[in-house]
Amino acid sequence: MNVIGAIIAKRVGLGLFTLFVISLLVFFAIQLLPGDPASAILGQGATPEALASFRHELGLDQTPLIRYLAWASGLLHGDPGHSLANGRLVADLIGERLGNTVYLAAVSTAIAMPIGVALGVMATLMRGRVWDSITSTLSLVTISFPEFFIAYILVAVFSVSLGWLPAVAFAEAGQTGWQRFANVALPAITLSLTVIAYVMRMTRAALMNVMAAPYIEMAQLKGTRPFAIVVRHALPNALAPIINVVLLNLAYLIVGVVVVEVVFVYPGLGQLLVDSVSKRDLPVVQACCMIFAAVYVLLNLTADILAILSNPRLRRPRRTAA
């Protein structure tokens, strides 16, 4: 009997279902527009012909179900339609920027996750000492800061005062690897600081939770050294929550990039989304939302599956007939 397989299959199914419901929400949100969506978007002064062609463009002359199916299949084939603002293919608009966003998120992850987890383990080893209270207060302060505050402080210091790094992160073709990295340095540091603070706090909390367990006291009474207690006895049991922390923070990065891209005028998906929201360019908004949502769902799914796999109780369920 493969219990764990069944649990994972169920979880994957739930993830796919969530994605499906989200796609429904994203698509039919447009129905929330008061009155006729076409005239609401084009405004009072639109000519009847313009309205009619726009309605056709939106597919409003067809039933919602057909429109949804057309949109969803377009999405799956990488063609979510045309932008309302400039008529370009949404796929082209996104394609240019998706890579930039992924690059920024990857650099931030590479900086933040190892440092965050390491600081969390360190804080647990030093629990109750000055180092612990300093890092805990500092991280609390950091997560309380809005990203744009951190970003502008960094800009004020590193680009305006010191002139080391650019305040605006252009991404151009033909940049060398190093140039590209220097370009995203400030946005990546901004994102990393917040993520480090979160990961550190959550890692510490997960470990401290485990450290209160009786088997930790037992290990102490067996004479196990403090470092071995944290690494050998606490860490394996805190693995699931820590994996969860890391992946949740990756998911958080998705949201963080939106703000940071706007601050640094970085041509990524987040900035495209914000621009499109203010222009109410719905096809682009919908496509961006689906990408962000899919990544988010995928990360949550991965976190859950890894948590299931790291639990010996689930890996080796006890035979109930005892």
Partner: protein, 548 residues
């Protein structure tokens, strides 16, 4: 054949010498003494029983013997000399070197004390690999031998299992193997059998006693159960409120305790009531089948409770006795079977019962802490059923509350207290007053004394009996404790794995001949006799050889 554990004390060298030990604990921002100057000594190979009720400080003393205090506690005085070294003055690395190697610890809950992420074997040999720099293969082979000595099933492979794959009694023995891995001079046993059922307790006790004797290991055996400690200890030290009350060799203490407090510890169930029978049936449950989800817990159970009588349902954990209580209250509708209350059919589920039926069946729980809302005062607790069931309010209600408090021997000065300001026994009496406020025909008592100390248990049982005499209320009494059953039951129902094994008037059930399970259950309850375990094991092995 094991040697007599109560034989002459070996005139060995002094192993452990605790003098003037003082420990404080932090509660609500203030340091309060937990241990107030305890002295104890232990020779090599000697077993000292440390006995006391909850809050006596016995676990704290046990841990202090390893130079360890829990978070939120601190040493404030005294010395713990182990092999001539003061553990309280050693630095941490030196303490760690001794722990596991020279002094080992066996905790109450083995299920919690084993790390769920690792298999048993690496945990059992962890200390040995660290300190003896021995070969892993050699350590594992030795652990397998220990598993065998401790009567664990499949000793060669049990080490490959994860803790959740092994039963509680087996884990407790595996933890003893873990403590023994380095052949320490001293093992601290901290209530190792308290969480186990009586029948399992016998096996674990026997295994611990045999291995401690074989390796001539000194032990500090901590428990609240005098009968248990009498089976292993050479000497017994009684603790109360963090102070030593009395210390004597086991046989001396059992035969002639000096202090009143010590006597009270085994003045077990001095109460005895005449066995009653009643023609009028209050509650009748017939052919009950019940369970949770796919699990079947009750299998064709039938019981009747007569007016003014006590029916005691006794069994080990998993026997279904608490589920029976839930079915009676309507919390768990049975899948099959009929419940009749005072002659009328009673709806299987709570929703179908009338307010009057709800009033007439009341419940008292095991843990008064969980049964009392911490935000409700004593007055609130009793007032609610009076308002709801009797429609009382104002001065009439107030005077009834005081009357009820008086019935359970609590004064009116308790009215505005919150449960947090009451002792365990007071809380349980408050729960009784709440149940009686409804003026019920039957009160279901689910292990109402098991969370309480011996002396308090006795008070509560006396009170229950007195109230039964005065009010003619019936009790359905769920318990695992046979001593309690003896003291208060009119009718006994013995349950095992969801079935009724035996049922009848108290005196009939408690006299031979017994069905096999009742026999096992009755014989497994430790008696206040240092030779009880030895005799029992001998009797059982005789019985086995006869049957073979």
């Amino acid at each position: 054949m094991a040697a007599d554990p109560h034989g002459a004390r070996r005139k060995g060298e002094l192993l452990l010498d605790v003098q003037g030990l003082k420990i404080e604990g932090r509660t609500g921002g203030q340091w309060q003494p937990i241990v107030r100057g305890v002295d104890l000594t232990l020779q090599r190979g000697e077993v000292l029983g440390l006995i006391g009720e909850s809050g006596a400080g016995k676990s704290t003393v046990g841990l202090a013997a390893m130079g360890y205090v829990r978070a939120g506690c601190r040493f404030t005085g005294g010395s713990v000399m182990f092999n001539g070294q003061d553990l309280l003055r050693l630095d941490r690395p030196a303490q760690s070197t001794l722990r596991g190697a020279r002094i080992a610890y066996v905790a109450q809950s083995a299920a919690a004390a084993f790390n769920p992420a690792h298999r048993l074997m690496p945990q059992v040999i962890e200390a040995r690999l660290r300190d003896k720099r021995g070969e892993r293969a050699e350590a594992e082979a030795d652990a397998r031998r220990l598993f065998g000595k401790l009567q664990l099933p499949d000793p060669d492979r049990i080490g490959l299992r994860y803790p959740h794959e092994v039963s509680g009694g087996q884990l407790q023995r595996a933890m003893t193997a873990m403590a023994m891995a380095c052949r320490p001079d001293l093992i601290i046993f901290d209530e190792p059998t308290t969480a186990l059922d009586v029948t399992t307790q016998v096996e674990v006790l026997a295994a611990i006693r045999a291995i401690v004797e074989e390796f001539h290991t000194a032990a500090l055996y901590i428990t609240h159960d005098l009968a248990v400690v009498a089976q292993l200890a050479h000497r017994i030290l009684v603790l109360r409120h963090g102070q030593a009350v009395e210390e004597a060799p086991t046989r001396t203490m059992l035969a002639a305790p000096r202090e009143d407090y010590t006597r009270s510890l085994w003045a077990v169930r001095n109460l005895h009531k005449p066995q009653r029978a009643s023609g009028e049936v209050v509650l009748a449950m017939t052919g009950i089948h019940a369970g949770y989800g796919a699990a079947k817990v009750l299998d064709d159970v039938s019981i009747t409770v007569g007016r003014g009588c006590t029916v005691a349902v006794v069994g080990e954990s998993g026997s279904g006795k608490s589920t029976l209580a839930r079915v009676a209250t309507g919390l768990l509708p049975p899948r099959q079977g009929e419940i009749r209350f005072c002659g009328e059919p009673l709806s299987p589920s709570l929703k179908g019962r009338t307010p009057d039926q709800l009033r007439r069946i009341q419940m008292i729980y095991q843990s008064p802490d969980a049964a009392l809302n911490p935000r409700h005062t004593v007055r609130d607790v009793i007032a609610r059923p009076l308002t709801l069931f009797r429609g009382l309010s104002g001065p009439a209600r107030e005077s009834r509350i005081i009357e009820l408090l008086d019935m359970v021997q609590l004064g009116p000065h308790f009215l505005d207290r919150l449960p947090g300001a009451l002792s365990g026994g007071q809380k349980q009496r408050l729960c009784m007053a709440r149940a009686l406020a409804a003026e019920p025909d039957i009160v279901i008592c689910d292990e109402v004394t098991s969370a309480l100390d011996q002396i308090v248990q006795e008070e509560i049982l006396k009170l229950l009996l007195r109230l039964q005499d005065e009010l003619g209320v019936s009790y359905l009494f769920i318990t695992h404790d046979l001593a309690t059953v003896r003291a208060i039951a009119d009718t006994i129902v013995v349950m095992h794995r969801g079935r009724v094994v035996q049922q009848g008037p108290r005196d009939a059930v408690l006299s031979p001949p017994y069905p096999a399970y009742t026999e096992l259950l009755l014989s497994s309850v430790p008696a206040m006799d240092p030779d009880w375990l030895t005799n029992l094991l001998a009797a059982r092995s005789d019985a086995r050889s006869v049957s073979v």
